[in-house]
């Protein structure tokens, strides 16, 4: 029972971090139908920027985070201007290929500036152990849960009520129609990428606090693929619930069956669920015109 409680708590906290990363994916997919293969690298850049401002330049951590979030917005705007805008009118698959290129580019820039060896993330996120009914959870994991719930709420409100959020859904649905409604598709893409980069920077800080500042931070980008596909690429709640499911599955298999399987099982679960629900658990069914 105690093992179960411990595994469940660990699974939930891992799931919360997955969910945070997945939210960034969903945001970009929802606005532009693009699967962003550079999401992991956005985490990486976020983590290194905070590291640079706090550990290398000696800013207080709050200032370091604020500057990083500001720069994340700039990254989003730059991606729209120099990566997406030249591709307007090209097939989605070209844009997806370009995000793969973008991921290599961001990684190369990080490697060029900071090298490839890992460093310790400046210790400002408390990671002392918290005891819940006898199970142990580091405090940073609880912060992750809080943050992903907060962002889940904010994103849900954003897509349902804010003019930009509604316009974003419309743009994903039909760009020509969105333009004819007076929606600036360029503006929408810049907003989507900026918010996504901000979310990624927050997630990057949390991941780096656990694994240290190194190339490993971006690996979570790949581990989150089953999460978004499971939850439905265009679903905000799906990202969170998918994150929790995969988080729990990983630790339950690791704890009860053996750690070798824990990386494989999420994909098996994914295949099973997709056989029943091809659009993911919460994904919107799309009826294509022929």
């Amino acid at each position: 029972m105690e093992l179960f409680l411990q595994l469940t708590l660990t699974g939930l906290t891992n799931g919360a971090i997955f969910a945070l990363v997945a939210l960034g994916f969903v945001l970009i997919y929802k606005s532009s139908d693009v699967i962003n293969f550079a999401q992991g690298e956005l985490l990486l850049v976020g983590a290194y920027l905070i590291y640079a401002f706090v550990a290398e330049l000696g800013f207080p951590w709050s200032v370091g985070i604020l500057i990083t979030l500001g720069l994340a917005v700039v990254v989003g705007v730059l991606v729209e201007r120099f990566v997406l805008r030249p591709l307007i009118g090209e097939p989605i698959i070209s844009v997806i290929m370009v995000t793969i290129g973008l991921s290599s580019l961001l990684r190369a820039i990080v490697n060029a500036i900071w090298g490839t060896y890992g460093r310790a993330f400046p210790a400002f996120i408390p990671s002392t152990n918290v005891y819940i009914f006898g199970a142990v959870v580091p405090a940073d994991r609880l912060i992750a849960i809080g943050l992903s719930l907060l962002l889940l709420g904010a994103f849900t409100l954003f897509f349902r009520y804010s003019p930009d959020g509604i316009a974003m859904r419309a743009t994903a649905d039909d760009q020509q129609a969105a333009l004819s409604m007076g929606i600036s598709v360029k503006h929408i893409f810049a907003v989507a990428w900026s918010i996504s980069a901000v979310t990624a920077a927050v997630a990057g800080a949390l991941v780096a606090n656990i694994v240290g500042v190194s190339g490993d931070v971006s690996r979570i980008g790949l581990r989150v693929f089953p999460v978004v596909i499971l939850g439905g690429l265009d679903s905000v709640p799906g990202a969170v619930i998918g994150g929790v499911i995969i988080g729990l599955l990983e630790v339950y298999t690791g704890g009860y069956i053996g750690s070798g399987l824990s990386q494989v099982l999420p994909f098996i679960a994914l295949i099973l669920i997709l056989m029943i629900r091809p659009y993911g658990l919460f994904g919107e069914e799309r009826i294509e015109r022929v």
Partner: protein
């Protein structure tokens, strides 16, 4: 008064000339039909006006302003709304949401300023809602207002698309084959809506239509395109008896009726 003036517009796609030296003037308050065989360039012309295409040459003036200098998303703000030949609705959203999106240009939007519909902006939303509900009444689509658009029958989707364009409160409405694929009854409804929009709301209508009966019934002015060029222009009566127009249409029929 001339509201829309297309001047010497040429549009090329590689070797294909979709439009050649097209001149067209639409009177304020008129219903102006654009007809012609398939591939004549009718849709391309609408796309040039709504800035989805950029003319290779020529200019297009709307109420004195040169549209070719505006970004595509600014056209709605200037007072031009449109529908598409192959229905371009937001299929995953409800009828109501689609029409509310028609209000987008009238929202004080933006990430920070527009924010959320709270307080003052809630009152603003109620005003937008009233305009949209009025259009829903007018088009007689109350029963489907909460339905997801993708699940609706084709004829209804065409009607919703018209409603979304109306929600912009445009001064010029561009309709690309609003009656294509409809049965006689649906066509009659659509024709009545277009006449009402024109008369009661004072909106200028430029429409592309294949059904000659409807075109002759409702239009004030007709422009005939063939192979990207204007081959006839005038009142329905003038166009009907124009030898160039007759031969273009006869030509098409010969092609259509040739056994394959």
């Amino acid at each position: 008064m001339i509201q829309l003036a297309v001047e010497e517009v040429t549009l090329q796609f590689g070797g294909v000339v979709a439009l050649r030296d097209v001149n067209l003037q639409v009177e304020q308050g008129a219903i102006h039909a654009i007809i012609g065989p398939n591939g004549a360039g009718k849709t391309s012309l609408l796309n040039c006006i709504s800035r989805l295409y950029h003319p290779t040459q020529g200019r297009i003036f709307f109420e004195g302003r040169d549209l070719t200098t505006f970004h595509p998303h600014k056209i709605a703000e200037l007072g031009i709304a449109r529908s598409f030949q192959n229905i371009e609705l937001f299929r995953g959203m409800t009828v109501l949401d689609n029409l509310m999106l028609g209000r987008h240009v009238h929202l004080r939007s933006g990430v920070l300023s527009g924010g959320f519909y709270w307080g003052k902006s809630q009152r603003e939303e109620i005003a937008h809602r009233a305009i949209v509900e009025d259009i829903i009444d007018f088009l007689e689509i109350e029963a489907i207002r909460k339905k997801t658009v993708g699940t609706l029958a084709y004829g209804l989707q065409k009607r919703v698309e018209l409603g979304r364009a109306l929600a912009l409160e445009p001064r010029l409405l561009l309709l690309d084959e609003p009656m294509a694929g409809m049965n006689v009854e649906e066509k009659e409804d659509m024709a009545r809506f277009i006449l009402d929009i024109n008369e009661e709301r004072g909106i200028t209508v430029a429409l592309i239509e294949h059904d000659m009966g409807v075109v002759m019934d409702i239009s004030d002015e007709v422009t005939v395109l063939d192979f990207g060029q204007i081959i006839g222009q005038g009142t329905p009566e003038e166009v009907r008896s124009d030898p160039n127009v007759i031969s273009a249409y006869l030509g098409e029929q010969e092609v259509t009726f040739r056994p394959i």
